[in-house]
């Protein structure tokens, strides 16, 4: 196809727009709806072209003219999902468009029959053996044409899909790459390729055409491979290059922020998205997850009602409603809606995991395990499901058993503090203090979301009577809590202050001790102890009047893991 030649350098928006417009019509003619939709969305985000700038419709060949009637008829049958009929009338057509539609109808017909077959199979074990019978034939025919190089971008794409369905993944990757080279603007081929790329090494080893669409693909891949920072950078570049109005990019950025749990950023982006595209349903389940995490009941309720009005039989809608019920602690209903989502699409990963969470809430651990296992089956890299399994076994009081699952989750998200804290807790339960300490410290180092790691580490040190380390940790903890600005519910500043006060008192650093004791008095639960400590300090001071020298000298030389601490000024605390 000529599209291959159209690869222009990035930045020429008019060119891009022209390319998009032509590819949209190509996709539409072939019934590739999702690729058409993606391209249209992107084209909509770009400025309108003047009339004379519009790209000319592709040349109409003799073959096309010959097949015109058959093609029109077949396309209408195709649109009405009468695939066999469509294929029948396309047989013998020689134009490329007709050939693609012919093969594609046969493929879809096979898929449809497979789905129908699944419902009434002859036995439970036969259930999984239902295959798309058309695949083998399609593969043979397509490979024959492929060998002589007669396939264009679209048919190559179809060939790739067939190979993937036959689990010939290596071959499929090659064919998709070829398809992309021959027709870079077909987003469907990129997407299929993205499903087959499992790691960054593989991604780097692929030779991809140097086209502006590659940036979209790379950004998408980075998000998939959890390399959020790189993904965000890519998307930012795209926005700066002129795609700022694209809803697709906004939603992708929002999802990326969601993945690194930057909730506020993600929320604001989703709100923006909803303003621009109020009837959008895609990605709204992610949005509802965010609202759920933030416990924003009214917003979630509004979103749920809104989506039900748009289309209540969508997976996303069901997930949003499920989240809504879950937030209202109506877990049975929530589970029901997640089930509905799964009935609509059993390969919907999020729903399996969320359903697992609901069953956990209902204390139905076995069902929860099942749900998580299903999620893992759909996608082995789903860290939430692994984490959920770990939590389930933790609830069942099997700390050793859950280690395996937490480890898996940690492996998938090495820089997520939650897994590390969970691992640390499990190790602590197993009295493996050394490992637990390592986990907590690591959790703090990677940026603790819940601000719990330091507190736990401090308590652990306290238990092990490593008072210097404990004091260090408490100090870091206090610093951490106050530097993040917002008030956390579970903050145990008073505990930290109490310990620090006692610690300084024991080490005869009375000024610091009295400072801590005074701070203690700000908290209800530690007030009495603070006062007692103050009294003790004044007693001791009366006996020996020794001025204390440098504030934190003894601590800063300490050779504990907590080394990067700077002397902190307790005065600046604003509890």
């Amino acid at each position: 196809m000529k599209m291959a030649a159209l690869c222009s350098e990035f930045g020429d928006l008019v060119q891009i727009k022209k390319q998009l417009i032509s590819v949209i019509s190509l996709c539409k003619e072939r019934g590739l709806l999702h690729s058409g939709k993606w391209a249209s969305e992107l084209a909509f985000a770009l400025d309108r072209l003047p009339k004379d700038e519009l790209p000319p419709s592709p040349p109409f060949t003799e073959e096309d003219a010959q097949d015109l009637d058959a093609l029109t008829l077949a396309k209408s049958y195709f649109d009405l999902k009468e695939y066999d009929r469509s294929a029948y009338f396309l047989k013998g057509c020689c134009s490329r468009k007709a050939y693609f539609l012919y093969m594609y109808s046969r493929y879809l017909s096979g898929e449809k029959k497979k789905d129908d077959e699944t419902v009434d199979s002859l036995g439970p074990l036969e259930k999984g053996q239902v295959r798309n019978e058309a695949l083998r034939e399609l593969r043979v025919e397509l490979s024959k044409k492929h060998n002589v190089g007669e396939l264009d971008g679209f048919t190559l794409y179809l060939y790739g899909v067939v190979l993937r369905k036959l689990d010939l993944l290596k071959e499929a990757v090659e064919v998709f790459v070829e398809a992309i080279h021959s027709l870079p603007l077909h987003w469907g081929a990129w997407l299929e390729l993205s499903n087959l790329v499992t790691n960054i090494e593989m991604l780097k080893s692929l030779s991809l055409p140097d086209c502006w669409i590659k940036d979209f693909f790379m950004a998408h891949m980075y998000t998939e491979l959890q390399m959020i920072k790189e993904a965000l950078q890519k998307y930012q570049n795209l926005i700066e290059a002129g795609f700022s109005k694209s809803t697709y990019i906004i939603s992708q950025i929002a999802v990326a922020y969601h993945n690194i749990r930057d909730i506020d950023q993600a929320l604001s982006l989703f709100n923006e998205l909803r303003e621009q595209d109020p009837y959008r349903i895609d990605n709204m389940d992610t949005f509802s997850n965010l609202l759920y995490v933030k416990s924003m009941k009214p917003e979630l309720s509004y979103l749920a009602h809104n989506l039900v009005e748009i289309d209540k039989y969508r997976v996303e809608t069901c997930c949003v409603i499920g989240n809504y019920y879950s937030l209202r602690s109506q877990h049975e209903k929530a589970a029901l809606y997640f089930q509905r989502a799964l009935k609509l699409n059993p390969r919907c990963l999020g729903a399996w995991t969320l359903m697992g969470h609901e069953y956990m809430e209902m204390k139905n651990t076995s069902a929860a395990i099942q749900a998580y296992r299903h999620a893992i089956e759909v996608n082995k890299r789903d860290y939430r499901a692994w984490y959920g399994l770990g939590q389930t076994y933790e609830i069942l009081k099997m700390p050793f058993y859950c280690l395996y699952y937490y480890r898996k989750a940690h492996q998938l998200r090495p820089n997520d503090s939650r897994m590390l804290v969970a691992l640390g807790e499990s190790y602590e339960k197993l009295s493996q203090q050394v490992e637990a300490k390592k986990c907590y410290w690591r959790a703090y180092s990677v940026g603790d979301v819940e601000k719990m790691a330091l507190l736990k580490l401090a308590k652990l040190h306290e238990q092990l009577t490593e008072s210097d380390d404990a004091a260090q940790c408490y100090m870091l903890y206090i610093q951490d809590i106050f530097s993040c600005g917002e008030q956390l519910e579970h903050a145990e500043v008073s505990t930290a202050l109490r310990y620090l006060g006692q610690y300084y008192f024991k080490n005869k650093l009375y000024d610091e001790a009295s400072l801590c004791a005074q701070r203690c008095c700000d908290y209800n639960d530690a007030r009495e102890e603070g006062k007692a400590l103050l009294r003790q300090i004044s007693q001791v001071r009366d006996q020996t009047e020794t001025p204390s020298a440098d504030l934190f000298a003894p601590l800063s030389n300490n050779n504990t893991p907590v080394r990067r601490v700077s002397p902190l000024n307790l005065i600046s605390f604003t509890p």
Partner: protein, 773 residues
Amino acid sequence: MASVHDSLYFNPMMTNGVVHANVFGIKDWVTPYKISVLALLYDMTASKITLPERRRLNKLILPLQQGPDLTLGQFLKTVEECCPQTAYAVKLRLHEMADGELKDMEYFFSTLPTPFTAFDSEAYKTSVVGLFMRHMLLAYNKLSFSQVYKLYKSLQHYYHSHYAKPTDGELSLPALVSNDSDMDLTSTEDTVGDRIDREEVDAPLHESELRNDNTPSRGPLSQKQAEYFLARQAYLLKNDENKALKPAALQEELNNMLKFNPDFAEAHYLNYLNNMRVQDIFLSAHSLLHYFDRLILSGNEGKSNGDEGYGRSLRYAALNLASLHCRFGHYQQADLALQEAIRIAQESNDHVCLQHCLSWLYTLEQMKGSDSTVLTEDSVKMAAHFCLPYLASLGIQSLVQQGATQGKTAHKLMDALKDTDILHWKHSLSELIEISLAQTTSIWRMYGKSTMALQQAQLLLNMSSLEPVNFGVQQNNTEAFAVALCHLAELHAEQGRYSAVSEILQHLKEQFPPHSQHAKLWMLCDLKIQFERHMNEGKYHLAEPLVTAISALNKTEGLYRKAQVLKALNRSTEAYNILQRLQVHCEKTKCTEVVIRVMLSTAELHWESSGFSTALPLLLQALALARQHHLQSLASEAILHLAFTQLMLGVPEHALSVLHEAIEPVLAHGSVMDKGRALLLTARCQMAVAGFRPNGQGQADLHLAVLAVDTLNESAAYFSKLNCKERLRDVHYLQAQLHRSLGQTSQCNKSAMLFRLLDQELQSPAPPVSMRL
């Protein structure tokens, strides 16, 4: 971003968010095979068959009904063996259906004798046959329109695949193509060309095709088939690994099965076992956890059956995890998992599970190398209390093992083993019977009673399998067999029957291929035998490289062998250092046998520096230890050493009297080498007592000298059996001297010549005869 191609897969069997594989609770589905069985039953009731044939057929019914699906070829062959006439009738009936139309199958089902009407026939509703027919009719009537059509299609495929003898799985393809060309009359020519091309294209594709769907011709596995497959493979893995599928092939089969039915939890378990085979900790842990994750669901269903629900499988999950870590030598991890299992079991008052945990606990302690006698005793008591014969006798066996190494009195141990044997036979715990026999072999061997050991080993090897389900396995390939065979090999090696040894080792190699779990046993055994052989033949340079290999398999043994080689190569200081280290180590780990052997070796080192009197206390200590632990062969060995020392210290009379004590057991049970050495020493003592001097001076006691000649002849026979030339040389030297003093010149010359020949052959200067045993 849902792709267009994400199938609209909808699973109707999903209730409550959970997929039930078997939602109707029916295991029986009508399959083409079942139709054939029905046809057989029908023909059996309809036609006249002679009595013996009928009997044979009747015997066939139950296996056919309950067994896994067979191919038509297999099925017809089995029937034909019983009654060719019926087989033909069945074939005809199937042919009618398969080559006819759908209505023929429908007609067949309608003509089946309904079990409710046929009162007098075998197909009455309560009979086995009747029940089966009712099941089938019910299942058939439940089928929807399209399912009936599918059944008919698969029947046709089933029938035709038997006759068409498909060379590859392409059978359905040409059929489809011809359908196409029928439909499309306008371009027939094109399609014909197409077909030829396609076949050409197919040929190179075939291999990759096979890789992906290699089982298209085999048809779907039924539930029963899958269960049978899993059970068979699991059994084989346990008892005879060689007969099971190769790890890779099995993995592929399992992947296939799991792809089709991810809910088949047992497949995950087999996966775990298979991964254990190839020592893959990651995958085996993964599969094990997956299995229990799945099991928890089914355990929940079992609640109605009075089971305790999934809590039960939780404890066993933790326990299994412990055993997994134990197998991989992660003792700390195993300990943690075990503690978890124990805690959960305690919380739910599950004594049986606790008992299992306890037996694992002492096993773990044992593996860690600490004393666990008390734990084991407790475990046995509790197991007996809860009527768990398996665990109880396993515990007793473990106790016996510990007792044997700690030097408990022999009769007590044997009594205990005898008692457990009674228990085993009562409950027909064949696995434990095997272990018990192997253990008895080992104990006899340790005590130095080679004849008894030989007998016990033979007993085990000649025992036929007692397993109720025997998948054609004549002999189980368990650890017990490996141990017994290794003992057998070593016993033969001791007697110098090396051809028998190599045969046994060959068998071991075949039965336990190098990658398998118990292969280390025979590897060590093989190395030890080779080492001994080289040492006996004086080829130290060949023995030396073996030491490294032995060390890899068993550190202690390796060190000991290293010391031996060094000693033989006269590097005494190094040998002494190693022996000292080894002694300290072994005293700590309570390896009495090695301690005694180390002491004897140390004593030999003292001899080399002529420190005969310093060797004495060591030897006495060794003797005392050996006696205390009833280690007869080592005790005799110690006595031999003692006698030699006395001889060297110039008290041959004492030496001879001490020797009398040892000579009997050595001749009865000892190895050929020991016998030869003992006799050589006796001869030397006799010569010394007779007042015999090397230079022929003095008055020799002629009577004793003649006796010494006999003894020497005998020992020469033993040494020549082992091809132990160095010692033969010594013998010939002594013989020549004796003969000379007795005035037998011709014999003297003959011995002298033999000595000369050997001396030339050996080249190495003969060590002073006096310096070694």
